[in-house]
Amino acid sequence: MRYITEINKNGNIAVDDNILVKDVLASAGSHILDSFAPLFSAEAVERLEKSGYTISGKANVGEFGLDLLGETSYYGIDTENGNLKNAAASLVSSGDVEAALCVDLNGAPRRAAAAEDIIFIKPTYSTVSRYGVIACACSGEQIGVMAKNAKKAAEILSVIAGHDDKDGTSDLKEAYDYSLNDTVKGKKVCIIKELVEDASDEVKKSVADYKQKLIDLGATVEEISFKNLDAAMSAWQILLSAETCNNLSKFDGVKYGYRTPNFKNIDDIYVNTRTEGMGFLAKATILYGSDALSKGRYEICYDKAMRIRRVITEEIKKIFENYDIILTAAASSKQFESYDLKDSFNKVFEESKYTVLASLSGCPAVVTNGVQLMADSFKDNTLLSIANATWEV
């Protein structure tokens, strides 16, 4: 299934089902939002429509966007030769739409773009309004753009980015320059070796090929080491789970969405609705997050995770004092086979290694040619320019 709800066969932009379009059913891939239709559109959707784009439909997503590629969707996921096939990426790759808006919560759209050899940009945190995103981890999730090339991604991003009064964390700048006028020549690039060495041979080859392309275009490339990846992954897992636990609590069967038919009192409504309405990964994340916030655990879990986030963000800033770009694998593998969803919590955690630095620090990341590039915050244009230059080689 590519669309959970199709809106317009002639539409040119798909949006993930965790981004709201007024009056169109929004499930975020979960049964618990059964027959929920929002009263308003996401700011990004509204800006696109005002600029003449047409939304084609609501692309299938994993439940609340928590998984690898969409495999936890209540509506199922397509596979090809046993491999998971992300809905938005396949819509863009097949040319059915020009671009897709996806919420990058834990790297799913980045992995999907790498698998389909298309482009995805997770812009700098706070540059695209999160108003109208069915939220999980507000401190890190960000709407990004999936497209066939950097030009299209930049075009769409320039429409949706810019300050929004309705999002209190939104950066104050009204518009950003995504004019692709930066060059590869003279750029200093570093490869984080821990984010390449354990990946599949196919992925390693993509990184090596890309490195050569950059050198050919006049960049210098060095290898560096990033020691605290384990801490970064744990910190992000705690923050993401805790915020998700809190944000998903509102789905309780009282106001909208799915309500259990089996209840005698309010506690039954809460427990049975949520037990029947959510899948394994959402529940595991909620339990993990609830623990991290509980009395006696907050200081050693959540509070510590926030401190680790600050330290990691500082370390990344330091890298960007010496380098313009970080080059890494976008995922451990180009393809992911279907698997038993009981393993999803651990599997997503392991895979977050490749995507966590941008999620945690809020810096922009672009996936292109099957690899990931990161730059300092607000240097989105540099990333898109490089993606554009290397695409043409």
Binding site: P38, F40, A135, C138, A242, C245, N246, S249, K250, K255
Partner: protein, 472 residues
Amino acid sequence: MGYELVIGLETHVELSTESKLFCSCGGHSSANEPNDCVCPACSGMPGMLPVVNRHAIELAVKAGLMLNCKINQYTTFDKKSYYYPDLPAAYQTTQWFHPICVEGLVDVEVAGETRQIGIKQIHVEEDAGKLVHTNDSSLVDYNRTSVPLIEIVTKPDFRSSAEVISYLKALKSKLQFAGISECEEGAMRCDINISVRPEGSEVLGVRTEIKNMSSLTSIEEAINKEAIRHIDAIERRTEILVQETRRWDDVKKRTFPMRNKETAADYRYFPDPNVMPVVIDDEWLAEIKADMPATVSEQIEKYMSLGLSEKEANAAAAEANLSAILDGVIAKGIEAKTAAGWLLTDGLGILKKNNIQPKDLVLDTDKFAWIINAANKGEITRNAGKTVLTAVILENVDPESYCKENNLTAQNDIELVKSVVAKAIENNPKAIEDYKAGKEKAILAVFGAAMRELRGTASPDLINKLLKEMIS
């Protein structure tokens, strides 16, 4: 052995903002029907983000200034999670880690003695909605959801229920006075922390908390009853005291423990990543300070410097409404002492007779000033003035036309007054005789008869003068 009560209070007060704490919905007081003042943000719809209401921040800062608090210029909002149908987002946004005001101090006065009560903190938070229970179901009304509140937390500094009541009364008038809260009936909700210890002891006794109290009478009763329960438990071992949360039963006049389930929640507080820390820079703080009305004590000082007695100054300043009316007529050029006399003697007298609370007095200061001026110029007598004032207060009449229509304009026609006085003398021969025989007071009957006839339109001085001339 004597016992000492140790009491701390947490008081919730609704802020007088135009809109809710994180959305632009109007306050619930403007609602006619359930769920009238509700939007996707305050009803827990996905996709909505909070935007802080700056006015609520300003009012909370004002409350802090009124209570001599230190203002935290860096203040943050946090999420408090629990499930209840009146809480649509399943979390309440409050201030757990960096409350907006801390370390305040406020005077309480009981029987002429003043003691200081420490304020631990003031924090801003959202209210919850309301549940309406019917026979077979419960309905939710989100009009009140996300209406901004402040919670004022004192240190355990109260030593009697009288101090608590005095504090709450003073708090209410302060908050109303500064336009921070309307403190509507029942809208001030208190949680009372109470323990008892032998006099002179430094060690605190077992503490219980009585939740969700609003009427002053109940608060006083509940504290006194709970203190007796504690003392009985200590002295007569009637029960073993445990630290717990209790409720007040207003019918049985006793406290009872809440079900454990209601109190055992772990609220899982954490900083709200969607609300940026609020930074109250020096400039903004100065603006808020400049916008503060004079405090009650400043107001008293001002009135005394304008020539009011201490008693008059206190009476006028204690009630924001009276104070505003007084300031209004003074601003229209009426001398302060005269104005205070009219307002506090005649005005309050009229209110008392008609069972009106001073806070509910509606009095147009233009009309009030006209009456005082007319009396000063002798156009009407003081008595007539009082009659007009009554009509203005009760029916909001126009004083000038009212005087004309009711013949209250002062009698400056000496011949007419003379003839009335002569007739009064003629009709009271006995009184005149007594007066002439040396009973000075006897003349009052004659004076009264003349006054009645003239319906208070002639000045008492004039009548007296004519009366004495004509008898001798």
